[in-house]
Amino acid sequence: MSRRFTPKVVTANALIEGDVVWLTEDDRWTRTMSEAELIDDEAHAEIRLLDAQRQANIVVGAYLADARAGEEGPEPTHFREAFRTRGPSNYAHGKQVEA
């Protein structure tokens, strides 16, 4: 039996800047995770991942990351994905200080 599908977001790194981006429902790449499309359906997730991977001139290394619905929108469930929304913990660099 396959494991139950848990909600996902499509995420990647921007080709030029290298920073973290998420795929939105209206096919934009956002730098704010809460704007990402939260995907509940496994088949739809695979299609959205293919959509992302096709955009190789914009993003690198697209994958499906676990997420859950929060008040503002999708939120990370794993600490690695949480760090990707913020940046490093030793300096105020990255997303935690960039609007």
């Binding site: 080709l15 800047e17 290298g18 001139n57 290394g61 600490f79 690695r80 990255g94």
Partner: protein
Amino acid sequence: MYSYTDFDEAFVRERVSQFRHQVERRINGALTEDEFKPLRLMNGLYLQLHAYMLRVAVPYGTLNPTQMRQLAYIAERWDKGYGHFTTRQNIQFNWPKLKDVPDILDALADVQMHAIQTSGNTIRNVTADHFAGAAADEIEDPRPVAELLRQWSTDHPEFQFLPRKFKIAVTGSPNDRAVTKAHDVGLRMVRNAAGEPGYEVIVGGGLGRTPMVGKVIRDFLPKADLLPYIEAVVSVWNLLGRRDNKYKSRIKITVHENGLEKIRDLVEKRFNTLRPEFGDVDQALLREIEAQFAAPAFVKRSTDAYEQARATNAAFRSWTDTNLAAHKAEGYAIVSISIKKHGATPGDATAEQMRIMADLAERYGHSELRISHEQNVNLPHVHKSDLPAVYAALREADLATANIGLVSDIIACPGMDYCALATARSIPIAQEIATRFDELKLEHDIGPLKIKISGCINACGHHHVGHIGILGLDRAGVENYQITLGGDGTEDAAIGSRTGPGFPAEEIIPAIERLVLGYLDMRETPEETFLDAYKRLGMEPFKALLYPPENKANAA
């Protein structure tokens, strides 16, 4: 130090130009990421968690002030004003943009530096004893040989698609400060019965998921045979090394699976073929390189000012006690500049600090700087009479922390604050341990103690050879830290042993504190180091400190 020939210059410029066009083709869509990735890795460019990362080679850890200033310039112009010195004597920039990288590489080429073969399945940057050319215990400066190896391995047509990466370390001293036994090939200079210098060749060491102490494949290799012999080692592994499984591809596994005897026989056979083909060309080249590494013109001067400053300034005395090492020239010292201020990120220097270190090297240090695998910077040749001035300038720049070799002189990989491979963070653990022991004001009492932290099993933070090693893992979605004890990165190399279950992040600092305070109670004399106490007492008493009965339920 070595200065590029016209050939080197043309080669490096050509590579930058090629990479510039490769980046253009990637951005305009002519190259896919799958096509581009091996090309960027060949030029030291990784994609990490939050950004690209450029790893720049500092060959055998040697820099001149002009190069250090250029690193500062790059940090300010294209990064966030700092650089990270690594355990392989490289410097990493954590925030470059893809489109800027060709310009950064050109800026490096302007000062005879590059990022070639700092990644990929090639022979990587050759590391060396950071005290090379200065250490009192040295037989010969190992850097000419390291430079020869760099030239030979760079773009070597046979060795561009090896089974996996290949790392060489070399030391000219019997006391190993270059962790040679944890490298694919380690070279340790020794003398034979006739008093001639040559190399003990160690093969198959490595850390990572299968840590192994290297084995001696040749106990004495004459200096003149070095290059054909190393070529024989690499070519034997290139054929035998496993390409079916990247976890079994390193030479340590090849040696383990085939046995040292078989590898030795194959290497000797291959060496016998290669030796005559080399003729004397490598030795002729080596002689030219050696001339460029001539020792500076050391002067004889009084050291009274130094002795006087030591007698009157306790902070200076403390710094000289921990941050100096014995120099081969009378009146000189090797200065270790700690890039480990309590609470700061191990190995990170700001552009401003880089410039100050460059200025000090120029003014007081015969224009030489070194990067150590312990993520510190050295001024290898400072006359003792200049030390009060050097210390005052370092203090001004927040670089005078007197902690070399002590509990807060921690090696830490970038961990999950930056690295895409990491399973947990390393830097905050290092920061908290250093801060805690600074509060306790005990680190000088504790004495020599090496804590090394890796944020994943690949062991960039050398945790296996830490007296106390810490490995960060992901345990069911939570950061968890395993402790090893008794590791040793010197000529007596040993892999540390796991103490037991790991600790969550909030419990790892108290656990380390219990270990170290417990050691203070158990040591026989103040001279007995943590490692010596561990060797005498074994694991059990340290385990009892880590896992007291009432806490047992909490350890994950």
